[in-house]
Symmetry: D2
């Protein structure tokens, strides 16, 4: 139980710790370093579970994502949960011993984006594992208290770490107006796509049509609530969705694959007045979209960048236990095998769903 | 005239039929009359199940609701479902033999309200069982095809009839912005309140707090997904909700009781920036509301009048089978006992939830 | 004055009339035909002014627009205003002698699009001058009363005819959320673009940046309220807008040119969280859009197809007299010169703005 | 510390300054005190113009507003503009010598309200002249840079100070959805009401109906763009608005008087589907509202508390010069006569509109 840990954890905060550091592309080393000092509003997180995200793998392979370039060694990992190990002098929201989910981007709170409620667009955000900021493949890190969220006892650290990719799905569903009874197509069944299926169900979607080319992912989607699975090796996704909706088209389509064809299919699967959320980041800049269709069907398109104001909502929803998101975790590694975790995520796309790293020891029961 | 009748049903369409007619307050008689003629866009509904609504009981007792006065004998009943028995020459949306839910208000389609998507505010709506329009306590009635919605085979007529009060809950949740993870207070656990609980869950509410003074209704609410039940004989509802939310207040409150105190509690249970939907129609006109609270908390208040564009959504959601709404039906009567059904609904508020009338015979298995 | 006309107009309704008929591409003939009979909800319009739209010119040249193919002779013209010459038996909204603007698309009022307030997406709309429906290059035509809107005495028929293209601008501003103080870029200064400038100012835009390649159109835009004019022969429009907003980007961009480059510039001119409305219909289907920009800036994109619920609003605004939209009319032709009007609009893009046809005689003072 | 001061201003920053201090109700004294020290993100404002608000007068008379109690001497005044006299080490948004408008409430940027874009609901806001925070009846005060907004040269300090009450009107219009062509009723023509008229016109309202009982205020409203003025001594405001809209009712009503009857009239003046914004703070808590009307007309009601994200928008709009808001300033006092200014505002409601105080000298030309 959480409260019992309090003293022992306080006692357990060391001055030195280990981290998995990406020295340069392909090279991850375990380094020892000082446990960070806390400012007045900081919380020291003892990291219990960290999901490996596609962006971690991308930095590991390429050393950059767009304008974000790894110019010095960096600690990866931003989908994380842990225990509060210490708090700064002014912290009031959490206390030592609290089990918490961590929202990875700390925003300025003072720019137009922040003030208008779209803090995910803050140009000065400090986001874990995004250069020049370090991430969570480490035993401890500090974080501003307002981005640290207590979780109920029965929510596991793994589930709490999954609130991060789940938040992307929530944000997409919110912006695209998924509602009770909606018919939603989700393209791409990587972890974000799978959690978008959960989010769509959480928002009340009556039917969720999913597409991918890996059977394992389509099966996982079905377990998480998809009502129809389209293997794009066998069917055109837009045509399949249109057939599934009696020719009418989906109310909402959400593209999570970052694939031009998937994006085009998502668009063309919509009904008149349908809404498209673009989550996936394609490799190329320009993608051809059917503009006369957008106009004549009065489609709304919403670009999705991370999320805002989703954590309490996401925690409450996962805590309800309605969906078995834990089944998404297919591979587990201790901190010292962080490189193996990254390699697993990189190479086993047809077998793994979510790979997790445990900086303070593997959980006892998988 | 439709030639494509399913033969067994065609054979069954008689020229004469029976109806339960409210001759004057308290007096209901079974009358025989002609089965109606169809216009080109009309559908003939063989009525299989009709819920008794509070408004039916009110007309039965008082002969009027506000400006709507029963000036000549009227057939009551507007929450209904049935089978398509015949269709007009231009009908394309349904065919003979289809099992259907009936949206009771037929709108003009040409006024500002209709054109702006708020057809529930159409001043020229013809609404079943609202003077001067007859309702559904009858073997057959005709209805314009665009307000007749096919239902899947596994949805019972009772459930399909419940789409009507469920629609009120859907509309309230939609206007008040209930979302995945929302914390919602629903005041008043009559049938509309109970179905609003279902709607709130359908929209993804993580927590639903309900209030009433009848234990049977609070228990029913729990079965349908309420996470906390407040007996207003024992607790102040606003204070109870505030306590349940750690002092913060609910995101959304929905008043369905038509009770001034319940309305005031609903308002005062909200968080800063909370939203209130007013569904219940109080007996008196003026109700004192805390205006400085509305201003300083920037509450949004939404008046709710019936619903619009809810039927396909509501059918899809009930068809998902996630909630056991059938358990709401506590009393069943054949057409000839329509008066008993009205009396039951009028007098057994602490024992009955939804009373149903079956103009074409009681269902075989309750 | 309008009311004085009443008797003389009634007397003046003949049984035969003239129309300008497009027999086939490039061939327009003046034909005589019967004045139409009225149904109970119909209004007979004596046509006083009709604007020539790009779509009229397109049918004149190509005999089709996309899936709409002219398969038999058709009367063009849909931007029109006139006088009520006769009314059907059930008409209540207008009376003989009323001066009116005509909203050209008559919708079914019963489909999902109509019921949800987006009747511009009605698949069964009967739209003037869109095959197979005739238009307004004719002395009289009939129209359902709910799409006929009285105008104040001081609004000219020309201005009332301009409510149609103005409606497109209103609809785009409404969907894209133009507000008091907004900074709006409008690409393409054809008549719709110019009236979108007026609409943006009507919605309170503080700054309106416009682009085109014709100086006459850029000058007209300035007269109508544009605060900066960008000649795309000289400057990149996106860069120019970015410079005009101190590097930040516009709040809203509206593309009206139907030009791929203009669309791309509109997108790239936006700030983080900006909104793009796509009004112009490009000749090709697929246009390359910068998807990573859409995602990382969380752009909203809104397809625009005609308009809905704009007429009373548009009439009230033009009646305020704040902008000199009459100056848009550069060329005037009587009905018998309808072909000349089409040719003028087709060939004089650098000199003409809006070409008008007057089926019942040229106005006395331009 | 800022080195780039305009020299003449730098020379002018003293170490001591004068302030008008409310010692207790009715007692205002001129005190000398130290010019404040700046933190890294602070800006030192040399105050040039401060409007007297009803809340200032209320604290002056009663020593409290609701839960806000003046427990020690306080400096009043929060509607202010001035010149940047010095900047903290990290300030980037403004520089010494900039003429600026000051948004008076500095928010935490970290609570749910701030993060969701509704920072006006921040429970930890530090708002000028609201206990325990001092205000602007002083020669200099410091303010966080993100609430200090540069103004163009041609906008006067008086106009810049008026951006504060104008912001209330903007926020009300935004929340209540005033649009181009809207018909808006504004009840109560105090300064906030008058600036709400300007805001409604700025948002494109075609018709603005105003009510008050002071002819001078109704005349001022007409000058600022009201299209009809209702003296509530002579007419019932709701009936008058209904008549002015041909029986239909207004699209939006905004109550700014804090008067129960005005609020009731505002509500009852609405059309079906109309929207009500409550700006005025009534003296009593409970006000009787017609709830059946709210339900059956599906009215939306929006509580309004201050404003958020309005300053750049408000400055841009006032800078356009379209409305003569300067004419609102009827009385001008130097700092040492701050008490006279408060008395003038308190006692001359039928003669004064906005009373201004000039802590650094009266402007040369009124």
């Amino acid at each position: 139980m959480a409260v019992e840990w309090k003293s022992e954890i306080k006692a357990a905060v060391p001055t030195r710790m280990r981290a998995a550091v990406l020295e340069r592309p392909w090279q991850v080393e375990i380094r020892e370093m000082a446990v960070p000092e806390l400012g007045p509003y900081d919380v020291l997180i003892k990291v219990m579970a960290v999901g490996v995200c596609g962006s971690d793998v991308h930095y590991y392979e390429h050393g950059r994502i767009g304008d974000f370039v790894v110019e010095k060694p960096i600690i990866l990992g931003h989908e994380c949960a842990g225990v509060v190990a210490a708090v700064g002098s002014q912290v009031t929201r959490v206390k030592v011993g609290d089990r918490v989910a961590v929202e990875p981007g700390v925003t300025c709170g003072r720019c137009d984006a922040c003030k208008s409620g779209r803090y995910n667009l803050c140009p000065d955000v400090a986001f874990l594992a995004t250069p020049p900021y370090d991430g969570a493949f480490v035993e401890y890190f500090k974080h501003r208290e307002d981005f640290v969220f207590p979780i109920p006892d029965h929510l596991s650290f793994e589930e709490a770490a999954l609130v991060e990719p789940f938040s992307v799905g929530i944000h997409a569903c919110k912006r695209a107006g998924v509602q009770a009874g909606s018919r939603v197509a989700v393209m791409g069944m990587g972890p974000v796509g799978l959690l978008t299926v959960v989010a769509a169900r959480a928002f009340g979607a009556a039917e969720v049509y999913v597409s991918d080319l890996e059977p394992i992912r389509l099966e996982a989607a079905r377990r998480l609530g998809a009502t129809a699975a389209i293997n794009v090796k066998e069917q055109d996704a837009a045509e399949a969705v249109r057939a599934l909706t009696g020719g009418e088209g989906a109310d909402v389509a959400i593209e999570t694959a970052g694939n031009p064809k998937a994006l085009q299919s998502a668009l063309m699967s919509l009904r008149r007045g349908g809404r498209l959320a673009i989550v996936g980041l394609p490799a190329q800049d320009e993608i051809g979209l059917n503009v006369p269709f957008i106009s004549s069907y009065e489609v709304d398109i919403f670009g999705i960048f991370r999320y805002a104001n989703t954590y309490p909502q996401g925690i409450r929803f996962l805590a309800s236990g309605r969906f078995d998101v834990k089944s998404l975790v297919t591979d587990r590694y201790p901190l010292e095998q962080a490189k193996d975790a990254l390699e697993r995520a990189r190479t086993n796309k047809s077998g793994s769903l979510k790979v997790m790293v445990y900086p303070n020891g593997l959980p006892m029961s998988g």
